[in-house]
Symmetry: C2
Subunit: 400 residues, 2 copies
């Protein structure tokens, strides 16, 4: 079989683990951070830059690619790998989260409305309508009406042809009542069953998604039912969904920790949409293996650059004449060749090169961080690494 997952090393005194996922397009060493390539490009980078940066796997977004340029076109042109010029492993999400976002964002009620029941209804907007069958939504590009269901999502993902595909799920916002979350979870479980049932391609690994909001009993039910629905077909990995949706960070950690302890050890665990560097370090400690997030790329375009001492905002006037690289000692192309002063200049002048160089640096930061973490687990020093990481984040830099 072209898929396998092995835990190579389990850290002492922590749940952190070193692993290896085999896919038809190569091996992924975990813990891994996966850059997000929403519309068929990790924004502002080329595939060769991604290779050089050490990206092992990149994401594509089913919702976006379905709308534009369309999964059938991509299939006709040889699949997503070939279309975007990336020959390494890829993962596509199911579109569930984007449809959930559509349902949230355009609702005409105050964002700070205090009534939990009201918040639970966020999804019922004109841009996305949900039923047990699936979701009817309007394109954010041209307003045209579309329908996504587990069967449709798998059909699209099979046409795209990523190595790892995701079950179609129903995501809940924070806060949502227990009653609402229960209804939503049952829908997700039904959709996961249907996702598993309709999956045809054997060169793709389907991951389940644990939902259940911020209720332990529902998270537990979610894990149990997911494992129970595996009969002839199996999930290649298990994801945690519905986190990082507006809750306090401690609640996210609590729920990730609680859920991680319920998961079988023989599957990769994918914490979806997380997060900041500190979140990755913390959640690897909790036993998570895979992460994706737009933060390094999106924040790069907004001028936020990551360093071991925490992020800097390059637009600040203190960097106007700063001849130093973003981070002393960083080996990325940006830091080896350009000063903060130059990067600030490019950012202020809104030059495309600002996005290019900042994205290279931020992805290097994330991918290098994960590399250091893997090494520390290998050497049984993850907890020391983690301690040192958080100490450095508090340090002030010597002014220029």
């Amino acid at each position: 079989m072209s898929f396998s997952f092995r835990v190579l090393k389990k850290s002492k005194d922590t749940s952190a683990r070193l692993g290896e996922i085999q896919t038809p397009h190569g091996i992924i060493q975990t813990p891994v951070f996966m850059p997000v390539g929403t519309v068929g490009t990790v924004k502002a980078t080329t595939p060769r830059d991604l290779k050089e940066l050490g990206a092992q796997i990149i994401l594509g977004n089913t919702y976006h690619l379905y709308l534009r340029p369309g999964h059938e076109l991509i299939k006709k042109l040889g699949g997503l790998h070939r279309f975007v010029g990336w020959d390494g492993p890829m993962l596509t999400d199911s579109g569930g989260y984007q449809v959930f976002s559509l349902g949230r964002e355009d609702r005409q009620i105050p964002k700070e409305t205090p009534h939990p029941k009201e918040r639970g209804l966020f999804r019922k907007t004109k841009l996305a309508k949900i039923s047990d069958e699936g979701v009817t939504f309007q394109s954010h590009i041209d307003g045209s009406t579309h329908f996504l269901s587990p069967e449709k999502s798998i059909e699209i993902q099979e046409a795209l042809g990523a190595d790892i595909i995701m079950a179609f799920d129903d995501c809940t916002a924070y806060p949502t009542t227990h009653d609402q979350t229960f209804i939503s979870l049952n829908r997700t479980l039904d959709w996961e069953r249907r996702s598993l049932a309709c999956k045809k391609r054997e060169d793709q690994s389907l991951f389940a998604i644990v939902q259940g909001g911020f209720f332990e009993d529902l998270r537990k039910k979610s894990v149990e039912e997911i494992l129970a629905m595996e009969k002839e077909k199996f999930f290649g990995g298990i994801a945690l969904g519905g986190l990082s949706v507006g809750e306090p960070i401690e609640k996210m950690y609590e729920m990730a920790s609680f859920t991680a302890n319920l998961l079988p050890i023989d599957r990769p665990r994918y914490l979806m949409g997380v997060g900041m560097p500190a979140d990755l370090v913390t959640c690897i400690d909790l036993g998570m293996d895979m992460f994706d997030c737009v933060i390094p790329t999106r924040n790069a375009r907004n001028g936020m650059l990551f360093t071991k001492r925490g992020p800097i905002q390059i637009k600040q006037v203190q960097y106007a004449e700063d001849p130093r690289p973003v981070e002393e000692g960083c080996t990325c192309y940006t830091c080896c060749n350009f000063s903060r002063a130059y990067l600030r200049h490019l950012h202020m002048a809104k030059e495309i090169l600002s996005s290019i160089l900042s994205t290279i640096h931020n992805l290097h930061y994330y991918l290098n961080l994960l590399g250091e973490i893997r090494l520390s687990i290998q050497e049984n020093q993850f907890l020391d690494f983690k301690k040192h990481f958080f100490e450095l984040q508090k340090e002030e830099e010597t002014p220029c």
Copy 2:
């Protein structure tokens, strides 16, 4: 001396010539196309991409860099080469042309006004006011008032530290009356004398600019007086200014041809701001050695991609499912890895990667064209090359 120009080969039956300019940052083989790096970046490319593409020299714009981030800051940080991370030869313009553009663009008269005298007054706008001393203008960024003169332009260019710097000149629009052009030319000649006189750095080569609009007697006068003003100091090269300012293309060729015949053979000849690939081929035939233009980079960002059969507009629906590269046989990174369908998708989705990949292809097209031209001159086959070039431009492509 760190500067020299040698004509290595003179083509038979044509004025095309092969040459070599030595500069402190390396040798430039001519004819050469120089990508434009307006604000300290050739838009949407990295210096390493430029090196890989075979760029020999890049431009910086004095006007833009003076306003942002400021020449003093760049000097403090080690000069323009170091600031932008480019260790090859560089050229800065004098700011004269940008100030001329400022004077033209914001005038509140119809663009198509037919009266030549009215057109000659275009520069007298609120954004730029000209006197014999210099030009007072307002920043296009924040409206602040500034003053540029020959002395100030040279001061800025010496702070920036490019290998080749340009005399400060007064450019005329098309059409402009003989009287107006005569006044403007005398001002330019005075400014060139002052540029030469105040130049201090010996590791920079100052180029003169021939003006005189579309009047042969004034172009002749311009060349003669430029050569006559060389006493203790010399111009390292001679540029043709005031072309490609709205005139019919045949008028541009006529005036370039007429002026080229007046120029000494022992200096590089730089046709400023030109042009389309066919213009380059034609003007090399007339004896021109150096070119710069924003067309390959700007048009790339607008979705116009160059091929041997002429440019294509990637947004056209005929390319939506086209699996071929922009140009079959092209060896650029873009053509080796991506289809027209993907490039069209990126363009329609307004992805930054669209600008990156299109810029790489267009610069490759221009730089490769110049490489082929140099080879053809070397092999005494330039006229054959030129004939073949224009035949191909007329050919239709086989539909996909």
